[in-house]
């Protein structure tokens, strides 16, 4: 049984009428890699800042190791943060950046939960900083100026600066957002390695679902200040709770359906076998069919028949858009079907995932407007800029 380290209990964050967090309840286990995933404005960064101590929730409790820490300022929390654009100190060199936290002393919890700072001897600071620079592969960079480092190197300094304090929890706020694709993939592996080596809890904020699925033990999908689903990456992908999660995680065709009986779902007035149970008879539902779960067959053998409207070559597969009775589906297949051809499709019972209707029903899952640009809109570096909170006015 893993130990529970952090608990958010019924946390609300509100500015005037603006509800940023809407009754959040969340448990975070020790040594867990947990990701807060969601589009910009979903409340994930706010949640992180509450844990870091930079914000205090309007109501609700934050517990650390069973103790309420709502009023403990950031400098007394055993938590460290890797900031979005690193927030390294430009006037200090690499060594001094990393040593910064150690020079401020170590937080010790004494009698009756009183927290005080204990000084760390200079020799130990030297040792710990050099060790940590080795962990992040920056040995020999101690004297470098921050401004002389590349983005990836700055990222490593930021991680070293946070980890050298041996926090119980490391908070990472979109740490890879500013890196290019290749470097991002490398750093994902690197971060996972560091987390396992150091054996501490990582709370990771991102809007990149691939990143979330690849690294996390637990993924928390958020939207509109609410937690939409908590689960392992597999759960989240295979069993999305609603249309929002289904759409946000991977590609999904989401179709209106009616549950005719346990194991029988009706779409486009045709009944299909599925594995889902426990819905009311004739209950309207959302049906998710992942693009890779659809097999293309000859038109006369298909359970459904449609016309190919566009084909895009993606390397491993083709993205094929097919029009079924006015509803456009995305199918990912290795078979090439030319534009305009008539095809049939077959879906196995385990290819269907049936969800209860939610406020997100009808908002996602139609590929009518699908185009290459869709990927660009999803580009994390672009979204990253929109994530910044309201009042900043950088010139």
């Amino acid at each position: 049984m893993p130990k529970e380290l952090i608990q958010l209990r019924d946390c609300v964050m509100q500015y005037g009428d603006d509800v940023i967090l809407d009754h959040i309840n969340l448990y975070i286990n020790d040594k867990e890699f947990l990701t807060l995933l969601g589009p910009s404005g979903c409340g994930k960064t706010t949640t992180l800042r509450i844990i870091g101590g930079f914000l205090s929730p309007t109501s609700g409790d934050v517990l650390f190791d069973g103790t309420r820490i709502n009023d403990v300022p950031p400098y007394k929390r055993m938590v460290n943060t890797v900031f979005q654009r690193y927030a390294l100190f430009p006037h200090l060199n690499v060594f001094e950046n990393v040593a910064f936290g150690l020079r401020m002393g170590e937080t010790v919890i004494g009698e009756g939960n009183a927290r005080y700072k204990k000084k760390i001897p200079e020799s130990e600071i030297q040792k710990r900083v050099l060790e940590m620079l080795e962990v992040v592969n920056l040995k020999g960079f101690e004297k470098r100026s921050i401004t002389a480092l590349s983005g990836g190197q700055q990222q490593r300094v930021a991680i070293a600066r946070a980890l050298v304090n041996r926090p119980k929890v490391l908070l990472l706020d979109e740490p890879l957002g500013a890196l290019d694709m290749r470097l991002r993939k490398d750093m994902q592996i690197e971060l996972k390695r560091i987390q396992q080596e150091m054996e501490i809890t990582f709370i990771y904020v991102t809007h990149d679902q691939e990143e979330a699925l690849a690294m996390s033990d637990t993924v928390v999908v958020m939207d509109g200040g609410k937690i939409q689903q908590i689960g392992t990456p597999e759960d989240i992908y295979n069993e999305p709770k609603n249309a929002f999660v289904a759409d946000f995680i991977g590609e999904s065709n989401i179709i209106d359906g009616i549950m005719r009986a346990d194991g029988v779902v009706e779409i486009f007035n045709r009944k299909f076998q599925c594995l889902d149970k426990g819905f009311g008879k004739d209950e309207p539902v959302d049906v998710v069919i992942r693009p890779e779960d659809i097999d293309i067959v000859a038109e006369d053998q298909g359970q459904l028949k449609g016309t190919v409207t566009s084909v895009t070559f993606k390397g491993v597969h083709y993205d094929t858009i097919v029009d079924f009775y006015g509803f456009k589906w995305l199918i990912q297949t290795t078979d090439f079907c030319p534009e305009g051809s008539r095809i049939g499709i077959k879906i196995d019972p385990d290819g269907f995932h049936v969800m209860k209707k939610s406020k997100y029903s009808g908002m996602f899952g139609d590929y009518s407007s699908y185009s290459e640009e869709y990927d660009e809109i999803n580009d994390p570096t672009l979204l990253d800029q929109a994530e910044e909170e309201g009042t900043d006015d950088e010139e």
Partner: protein
């Protein structure tokens, strides 16, 4: 490709720079002029710089200016920086509103800032007076001073107040450019907010703070108007001293001082710009370029240096407190006398001698005209003991009961004053005054431009000299001369007579008789031979003659104005005993001789007046030209023709003003 300016644009730029820099360039050149003229080059010399460093008034005001500017800069930099941080952490709407409010004082006319501060201080002082009186009446443990005055403290407060906006303006952009997460990061790593401020924010915004401080410093050094209204009588900044110096005689000392100020400000600006350009070019900081700097930084960052830093800070604080308390103790414990006179109106060695002989410190200030002096006294901000107004202003001050009766027993040297200068119309019973100097107004003309000997005011209005005459630039003298020419009294209150005089001047004015209305510009115009005839003071004629031997002076046969400037003591003077001593010292024969020699205005001391030619010969080993002597001190028969101004009734003063305005510009 960059667009190059066209020929028109280039000429425009050329003209703009010419107009901007030519006057300064001329000023710098003439600061090295050997002679006194600001129009005629008489050879290269450092003479005026040497004089400058012996000029006690200048040296003292430089010290005041530096002290005020440095302290004001230090305080306003600290306050402004914290204010910027406060603004930065506010919401956008509040911040922008407050930034606009912050910018207003910089745009606002200095005169408005100065006057309003003066009003504020005076209002506060009167409130304080009643408060202190009440406190002192209910208890006797702490005795509060009940009479506060404008001075160093108010000057400093005013400077701090107008410096702060400049600091905020420079620091705020640095703060906004700073990564907002830096403070969070510092707190995350164990800093309290204060520690984060000193360890992270401060180094980040330091370039803004330094340029803010430099600009505040130049603004402080530069300021005249605000200082003028808030410094009171016991303090004088350099710019105020310079302004005072231009009152009576424009000497090249002013050029020398101005040159030095220009160079200092230029250097500060260049340093600031070079520093900013370097920061930009280097991408802010490059540790690798500076192994030595790196070592220093490392040392400063190490805990070993912490005690060192604390030590240095402690020494700085102690030094600052010592200097300030010494200054205040010095100025408080020493007996003083506050004197307000005119610029270039005393041989300054006399001040030093008086201080050495009596141990009384002389705060020697200057005002630029009788009217300014009057308004300074009326505003209640000044606490002068001795003032040296002219005759007509003295009668006005007596009328308004602002002067103290003088204790002539304490001034034995009063007996040396010639009887001719006692019991004059402005002080008929001689209860309030001890004469300082006297002089006459006459015609100054260029003998090469005039083909006759001039003896009458009539030549001023003679069409023969159309366009070559300079009209004296104040209504009392201009109309007074016309009245005198027409055979009326210069002090007439008959409106018809005054209108007749006006018509005379107006008629000449309209047909282009006068080149212009001038006061101090008369020096350049006459020395440079640009005008043939002018009316001005006898003492000043002698200065002009030094630079142009063709000039001649005459007191017309019709007569003229003669005037007396006399020392008076104010009714509420705080140091009356010291004032008697000062007046007695100045009234002595020796002082009178030296002042007469220095300022070329006649002495009222019988002995000095008689002995001057002899004394001059001893000093300069050449005889004094008799004609010159007669110009300085008009002989009694000439003086008999002359009339002294008395204060005119209010409605006549208003008539003068009205007619003067009607005359046109």
């Amino acid at each position: 490709m960059k667009k190059r300016p066209g020929i028109g644009g280039r000429i425009g730029i050329g003209i703009a720079f010419l107009f901007l820099y030519m006057p300064i360039f001329l000023l710098i050149i003439f600061s090295f002029n050997q002679g006194e003229s600001s129009a005629v080059w008489q050879g290269f010399s450092f003479h005026w710089y040497a004089e400058l460093f012996h000029n006690r008034l200048v040296i003292e005001s430089v010290a005041t200016t530096l002290l005020v500017s440095l302290v004001a800069t230090a305080i306003s930099t600290v306050v402004g920086t914290f204010a910027s941080v406060g603004l930065y952490s506010m919401g956008r709407r509040w911040r922008e509103g407050l930034m606009t409010v912050n910018n207003i004082p910089m745009m606002n006319a200095d005169i408005v800032t100065g006057v309003s501060m003066c009003l504020f201080f005076v209002a506060f002082f009167s409130g304080w007076g009643s408060f202190a009186g009440w406190v002192n009446s209910v208890q006797h443990v702490i005795v509060l001073p009940d009479r506060l005055k404008l001075g160093m403290a108010t000057l400093l407060i005013a400077h701090i107040a107008f410096d702060i906006p400049y600091v905020i303006l420079n620091v705020s952009p640095r703060l906004r450019q700073m990564d907002k997460n830096l403070v969070d990061a510092a707190q995350d790593l164990g800093c309290t907010w204060m520690q984060a401020f000193f360890k992270v924010i401060l180094p980040e915004i330091m370039p803004g703070i330094v340029s803010g401080a430099l600009i505040a410093f130049t603004m402080s050094i530069d300021d005249f108007v605000i200082s003028y209204f808030t410094a009171g009588s016991s303090t004088q900044t350099l710019s105020m001293t310079i302004y005072g110096m231009t009152k009576k005689r424009v000497t090249p000392v002013v050029n020398a001082v101005s040159t030095i100020i220009f160079v200092v400000v230029l250097v500060v600006l260049i340093v600031n710009n070079v520093r900013e350009a370097r920061l930009e070019a280097r991408g802010e900081r490059q540790h690798r370029d500076h192994p030595k700097l790196d070592a220093i930084r490392e040392y400063l960052g190490s805990p070993k240096s912490r005690w060192m830093k604390r030590g240095v800070a402690l020494v700085c604080v102690v030094a600052f407190v010592t200097v300030v308390s010494m200054l205040t103790a010095f100025t408080n414990s020493q007996p003083v006398v506050n004197v307000c006179s005119w610029g270039e109106y005393i041989d300054e060695d006399l001040i030093t001698e008086f201080e050495e002989a009596t141990g009384i410190r002389v705060n020697y200030q200057t005002a630029e005209s009788n009217e300014t002096l009057y308004s300074l006294l009326k505003s209640g901000g000044a606490d002068y003991d001795v003032v040296v107004p002219s005759d007509y202003m003295i009668s006005q001050l007596i009328e308004e009961d602002m002067l103290a009766e003088i204790d002539y027993n304490a001034i034995p040297n009063f007996s040396l004053i010639d009887d001719r200068f006692k019991n004059l119309p402005y002080d008929p019973e001689n209860k309030y005054t001890v004469p300082y100097t006297w002089g006459t107004v006459g015609i100054i003309y260029n003998t090469t431009m005039v083909d006759e000997e001039i003896t009458s005011w009539s030549s001023l209005y003679d069409p023969k000299y159309a366009g070559q005459v300079l009209l004296i630039g104040n209504s009392r003298d201009a109309f007074g001369i016309a009245l005198n020419y027409l055979g009326y009294s210069m002090n007439t209150t008959n409106e018809d007579e005054i209108r007749e005089a006006y018509n005379l001047v107006k008629e000449a004015y309209d047909r282009g008789q006068f080149q212009g209305k001038v006061m101090d510009e008369v020096f350049q115009a006459m020395e440079g031979g640009n005008a043939a005839i002018a009316t001005y003071y006898a003492g000043d004629f002698l200065s002009m003659q030094e630079n142009n031997e063709d000039l001649a002076f005459v007191i017309p046969e019709e007569g003229s104005n003669w005037f007396v400037d006399a020392m008076c003591v104010l009714k509420d003077a705080p140091h009356k005993e010291n004032a008697w001593k000062w007046i007695d010292f100045i009234a002595s024969t020796d002082s009178n001789l030296r002042n007469m020699d220095y300022i070329w205005y006649a002495s009222p001391n019988t002995e000095a007046l008689e002995k001057y030619p002899e004394w001059y010969e001893e000093q300069y080993e050449e005889p004094l030209d008799e004609e010159t002597y007669n110009i300085i001190a008009a002989p009694p028969e000439t003086l008999e023709r002359c009339e002294m101004y008395v204060v005119l009734p209010k409605h006549i003063r208003e008539l003068y003003n009205e007619l003067w305005i009607d005359l046109g510009i």
